[in-house]
């Protein structure tokens, strides 16, 4: 076993660490001059845009660099006071665990118990001890009732807890979690964060925990330190969480991370006051409620306006214009296509504003007796911007596939502009639907960006309408890349923007997006949602499924909530959704302010 040396409290220490991958011909450092340390029992949030070197840093923390991934390394990495070079990789495996984003890709066995036992079996622990440890960790993580369950039968949250347990059972001293909540619904996310918090407070584990996550709003309250990397793999901001949230909040906001909404509201409120020093920093929800009690009528109204503007309805999109890579699709539509389609759109307006209508829609997967979609009758108006939410497995993706005519309903009907989908030519309908899939790479088929952009127009037979000039405009959207570049070599965010470009090129009337934010950095998420917001204002109908209810509530016009049994609750306006979900933070604040204002009046 590892003997912990003279500085037992320091779990990780990076000194001027830089790394260049061995296969990088340009010798561009993936990580540059990184300095930080982390103690046992501390939680560190590691944030930064995609390609900033978060994964590289996590590999260095786990010992995969330099022992498994080859390259050029500079500086020092110390794990429990001992240089990484003084360890053998097998010793590092025992003290550091690295949990990647997608639990299913990491699982190698068939049942929960086998998966948890996997590491200990590899380390040749006696069977009795393995059984005891599995029992202990499964109880701690609350999955002891699932031990004999097949992996395939688990929900997204249960899979995440299982893979986490499979590392924790080895009793690591350092645990790295790469976006652990990315695939989780709200309920599973709360469950996981709650377990992690308990774990770090457990005397037995004393874990040094690193969470890679750009949505600081979700994880900041359980963390001790924050490190934000920039595009060049350097540290843009680092420090104690409390210090950053109180004193360097504006710096944090400029780092393209999702800041905690409560602190953001407070910070904006402080900004409009000349003598803002009179307010003490508030990072806690309960303290904020007390703070509201102390405000006068004028300040209450100002605060209410700030909450509405920041958290409920985006009244302006000033920030949208500030992005480095502006996305202005309005300038990019092919004019000839616009004219051609004008007639078709005008004729549709004769009927009603309903663009899609479903009547008693049902869907059952082959060989499954459970209805994924059950008796669904909804009407989607032209120009709607719908946020589709619901727990994992509630049928959000299935519903989008049905609406896009990619699945055929088991029973019921779908109408597009009052015409039964069965009577519409599939090409015509497909031209009207732009579908963005969860994984950007799943919708890349061609070896060059140009061919990829033209994929839809070629298949739809409208290639003649796309001019070279138009293509060169579209390429700006992706980020001034060569049209002959292989799309698979683009960054993750660029791939997502290429997806948008390859759909926008044929000017569909409806855009459906299935979990488009997973794995994307905050900059891409912000530009994506705000682009869609602008496009919706220009008349496009948009339906977007996501677990990120916070974003959806802010930008969409209407929320549809799918339940586990395949039924749907339709909230005509966001406000109605807010009324039903009073546990949402901003609503509680607004209610409190309104109560106080009513009292004042």
């Amino acid at each position: 076993m590892i003997s912990i040396s003279s500085t037992p409290n320091n779990a990780l220490c990076f000194k001027n660490f830089s790394f260049i991958y061995g296969n990088d011909k340009n010798l561009r450092p993936a990580i540059s001059e990184v300095n930080f340390n982390l103690k046992e029992g501390e939680i560190l949030i590691l944030a930064g845009p995609s390609g900033s070197g978060k994964s590289t840093l996590s590999y260095a923390m786990s010992g995969l660099i330099p022992w498994r991934l080859k390259g050029f390394m500079k500086g020092k990495v110390e794990i429990f006071g001992k240089s990484v070079w003084d360890y053998e990789f097998k010793d590092l495996c025992k003290i550091v665990g690295l949990v990647k984003q997608n639990p299913l890709d990491q699982m190698v066995t068939f049942t929960v118990k086998d998966e948890i036992a996997f590491g200990l079996e590899n380390l040749q622990y006696p069977k009795k001890e393995i059984e005891e440890r599995i029992d202990e960790i499964s109880k701690l993580m609350g999955i002891d009732h699932l031990l004999n369950r097949e992996i395939e039968q688990l929900s997204g949250g249960q899979k995440q807890l299982t893979i986490l347990s499979s590392f924790l059972v080895m009793k690591p001293k350092i645990l790295i979690l790469d976006e652990p909540i990315a695939f989780l619904d709200q309920q599973s996310e709360s469950l996981l964060l709650d377990r992690l918090y308990k774990l770090t407070n457990s005397k037995e584990f004393k874990l040094a925990l690193i969470i890679i996550e750009h949505r600081l709003s979700r994880v900041a309250n359980i963390s001790d330190k924050i490190i934000v990397l920039n595009d060049n793999g350097r540290i843009a901001l680092k420090g104690k969480t409390s210090d950053i949230l109180s004193n360097k909040f504006e710096d944090l906001k400029s780092c393209n991370v999702r800041v905690p909404w409560l602190i953001n509201v407070f910070s904006n409120f402080k900004k409009i006051h000349k003598n803002h020093h009179q307010f003490e920093n508030i990072t806690n929800f309960q303290n904020f409620l007390k703070f509201i009690d102390e405000l006068d009528e004028n300040n209450l109204k100002k605060l209410r306006q700030i909450i509405i503007e920041n958290e409920i309805k985006p009244t302006t999109l000033k920030r949208f214009e500030e992005y480095e890579q502006k996305i202005k699709f309005g300038e990019l539509y092919v004019e000839t296509l616009k004219n051609k389609e004008l007639w078709a759109r005008k004729t549709n307006k004769r009927h009603s504003n309903a663009i899609i209508e479903t009547r008693n829609l049902e869907f059952e997967y082959p060989d499954s007796k459970i209805k994924a979609i059950k008796n669904l009758s909804i009407t989607i108006q032209k120009g709607d911007f719908i946020g589709l939410i619901g727990p994992n497995g509630s049928g959000k993706t299935t519903l989008l596939y049905l609406l896009a005519n990619l699945y055929e309903p088991t029973s019921g009907e779908i109408f597009f502009n009052n015409q039964n989908l069965k009577d519409i030519d599939p090409y015509t309908y497909a031209r009207n639907i732009g579908f963005i899939f969860q994984n950007p790479e799943n919708m890349i088929f061609k070896p060059t960006i140009k061919e990829e952009l033209l994929y839809g127009p070629i298949n739809f037979g409208i290639i003649k309408d796309v001019s070279e000039n138009y293509l060169s405009k579209l390429i700006n959207l992706i980020g001034n890349e060569s049209l002959t570049k292989n799309p698979f070599k683009l960054s993750w965010g660029q791939k997502r923007r290429l997806n948008l470009g390859s759909v926008f090129i044929y000017n569909p009337e409806i855009i459906l997006l299935d979990e488009p934010f997973i794995g994307q950095d905050q900059r891409t998420i912000d530009s994506l949602i705000e682009t869609l917001y602008v496009e919706n204002k220009r008349g496009k109908t948009i339906i977007i499924s996501s677990h990120d209810y916070h974003l959806l509530l802010k930008y969409t016009k209407r929320i549809m909530e799918l339940n586990k049994d395949g039924t749907l609750r339709d909230y005509d306006k966001n406000s109605n959704y807010f009324k039903k979900h009073k546990n949402l933070g901003p609503i509680i604040l607004l209610d409190k302010i309104n109560d106080r204002l009513n009292g004042v009046e």
Partner: protein
Amino acid sequence: MHKLNPISKIIFLVLLTILTFAINSVIFLAFISFLLIVLALTSGITLKNLVKKLKFIVFILIFSVVLNIFFNAIPSDQDVVLFYLFNLSFLPIRRLALYFALRALFIVLTLYTSAIIFTNTTSMKDFVYSLIRLKIPYTYCFSFMVGIRYIPLIEDEAKTIALAQRARGLGLEKISSIRKAYNLIFERLVTTLVSILRKTHTTSISMESRCFGLYKKRTNLIKISYKVKDIIFILLCICGFITIILYILKLLPLPPIPSLYNLFFQT
């Protein structure tokens, strides 16, 4: 069959495969095929399920019979024409050709049915741990296990990629040209492959982080054990196998099985 150790079933499969190629009698092969179907039905596989699975090879069987009858028919003195199909003189059905065709049919049917019985009565988990029990290095066994775990993942991924093609207008109608078909399949394959490569990278990092392959041996929490019924089953299989081999070699004082030709054409 469900309660047997996978290794017992593997032994049964190996012996059965040797026998199917050693037996010359079509009647005997047909009898074995019939017994296997009965065994499948008594092993909890429903008739509906069995027929559904056998449907897949019906085309191959018909194709094999037609090929054997018409292209394995080398006219010779020993081979006699039994009859002419539809009374057409250019469609002779020869004795040996018909024999080869029927023999191939029953061999395929026997092997396929036995594979159905094996896969339906054996969990892949038990199978992999049986391989470890057979002293096959665990790194190979786990490669196999990960491969099996990947099948549904790849299936899902390929389905999504196919839908992404459809969403952008490819494959909405029946493919009319070879080039389109080639594009459709090639693009789908490449995109799926990229996705699988990413997944394998994650899997390998996860396995390495959990100390996989550090030592030559590992503890196995699951141990597939031999029970009395396994030993009895294996002994019965070996006895049956030896008896049939001795019978084929005409070392047993039993009458030979009549051939189909003798039964139907030499009355």
